[in-house]
Structures are given as C-alpha cells and as structure tokens.
Amino acid sequence: MTYEIVFWAATALAVVSALGVVLSGNPFYSALWLIVNLASLATFYLLLSADFLAAAQVVVYAGAVMIMFLFVIAYLGGRADEPTRDTPWWQFAAAIIAGGAIVAEVLVAVLSHSFGKSAGVPVTFGSPAFVGQLMLSRYLLAFEATSVLLLIAAVGGVLLGARRPAMRPPGSEEPFAPEPAPQVELPLQAFVMEAETDFPVQHLPTPDEEEAHT
C-alpha cells in the first residue's frame, strides 16, 4: 500500500513540475521546477530498485547539471527572459498535438500488451556493485565511448565559452595570438550593455589611445 501511495505522490509531483518547466515565463523558475522533477524521478528509481541511479540522478543532475544551468541563467540576467512576442495559435495547437500524439501512441502500445508480474530480482539489483560490474564487463565499449564524449563536450564547452577564440590564425607563430580586431568587439558589447541598462557605458580606451595619452 505504501508503494502505491509513494507512486501516485511522485506521479503528481512529476507532472506538476514538468508543466512548471514548460509553462513558467522565467527560465530561472523553469530550472527550479526541473530540479523538483528530477527529484520525483529519483523517487521512481527507488521504487524500481535502481538505488545507484537514484543517487546518481540527485548528485549529477539535480546537483551538478542544474547548478550549471542556474549559473548561466544568472549570468545572462535579463537577456535570458522569454522574448515578448506572441506565438501564432497554430504553433500552440501543433505543439499540443505533437505532445498528445506521443502520449497516445505509447499508451496504446502499453495497454494493448499484458506484461504480467515483474521478474524476481536479487537484493543487490541496482546496487553500485551491480551496475559497475555490468558497465566494466559487458558494456565496456559504451562506457569508454561515453567518457570520450564527455571529454569532447568539455573541450567544446571551453572553446565556446572562451572570450577569444583560442585558436592560432593560419601562418601565425604564437600559440595564442590576440584577436586581430578588438575594435570590432568592444563597441558591440558596449552597445548591448547600453541597450540593456540605460546607463551610459564608459568608453574603454584602446591601447593606441592609451599610448597617445601617456
């Protein structure tokens, strides 16, 4: 009986928080709703005797990934907000049809099939040792491929986040040559800040001007 109560409570929480993610206007609230959603999914994992994955869900997702999300949203500030322009009605209708179609499809597939009782599993099912043993024996290749994927993602994140492209221009000897045209970037950033804050943006002297001054 406890099992059913926990299941339905987690279901209600998961659906409400998922709606919160897609319907709230502020991305910050969306991210907070997603943390609630991930926590309720961890409850499902515990009900399905996937102990290690429930812990990984909370630590990796609700902890690390969502903190990164919140940092980026806070970094972007007001620019992270949803653009205030009306979406056409047909886009809303198409989105509901697409979402409803996949729900209907899965429900028809699941309800037309009788699954019977679930298989009996050992007590260690879902423990870290159990998952780790599978990962390092049968799924070793997938495990290694995932590690390479994460490495590529980390390198890509650094490249995308770098203020200047950390790449050598062709024919240059220096490994980290300064960007050839800083005069282009500065006014653009100043323009963005000015449009955003209404404060007068201080003009930063270029190196040439500083030299002329001294």
Binding site: A50, L53, V103, F143, L149, A153, G157, L159
Partner: protein, 101 residues
C-alpha cells in the same frame, strides 16, 4: 491496485509529451534545453522501469549512459547560448537562423 511497469511507462510518456510540447512552443533556447532534459529523463524512467520488469540490469546501464549524453548536451547547449548572448541582444530561436555572426 498493483502498480506495474505500464504505470511507470505511462508517466514517462506523459513527461515526454510535456517536454515535446515545451520544445515546440517555447522560444527561449534555455527553456528549450530544459525541455530536452525533461524528455531525456522520461526516457530514462522507461528504461529503468523495463529493467526492473525484466530483471535485467542493462536498462540501468543505458540510463546511466543517457545521463552522460544529457550532461554533454547541456555543456554544449549552454556554451552556445552564452556565445550567442555575447554577440546578439535577443535570445530567440525564431530569429537565430544563421550560424555565422
């Protein structure tokens, strides 16, 4: 009433549908990324539900790998969002139609 695997898969389908709705309807790239996270997690729930139903641990390993893929996707997606925000004032997927700046 016995809660079987079909209930978990039903919840997973509903969450996936909500995530799909979010991807189609919202225009902020950040909320699009969050909706994609929602969809990836709902697929994880289905994988783990079937792993328990069949008594086979493979589904749990797949779910763990999906978590790795989702983490990479978030890194690249957020990196792109920050890079776009540095160059353009408006973060709107309807107006972001070119890869060059």
């Amino acid at each position: 009433m016995q809660v079987g695997v079909e209930y978990f898969v039903g919840v997973s389908a509903v969450l996936f549908g909500i995530g799909l709705f979010g991807v189609f309807e919202r225009r902020s790239p950040l909320i699009l990324l969050l909706s994609v996270e929602l969809m990836l997690n709902s697929s994880n729930l289905a994988l783990i539900a079937f792993a328990r139903q069949l008594g086979n641990g493979s589904g749990q390993v797949f779910a763990l790998i999906v978590m790795g893929v989702a983490a990479s996707e978030v890194v690249i997606g957020l990196g792109l969002v920050v890079a776009i925000a540095r160059r353009k004032a408006e973060l709107d997927v309807d107006t972001l139609t070119s890869l060059k700046h």
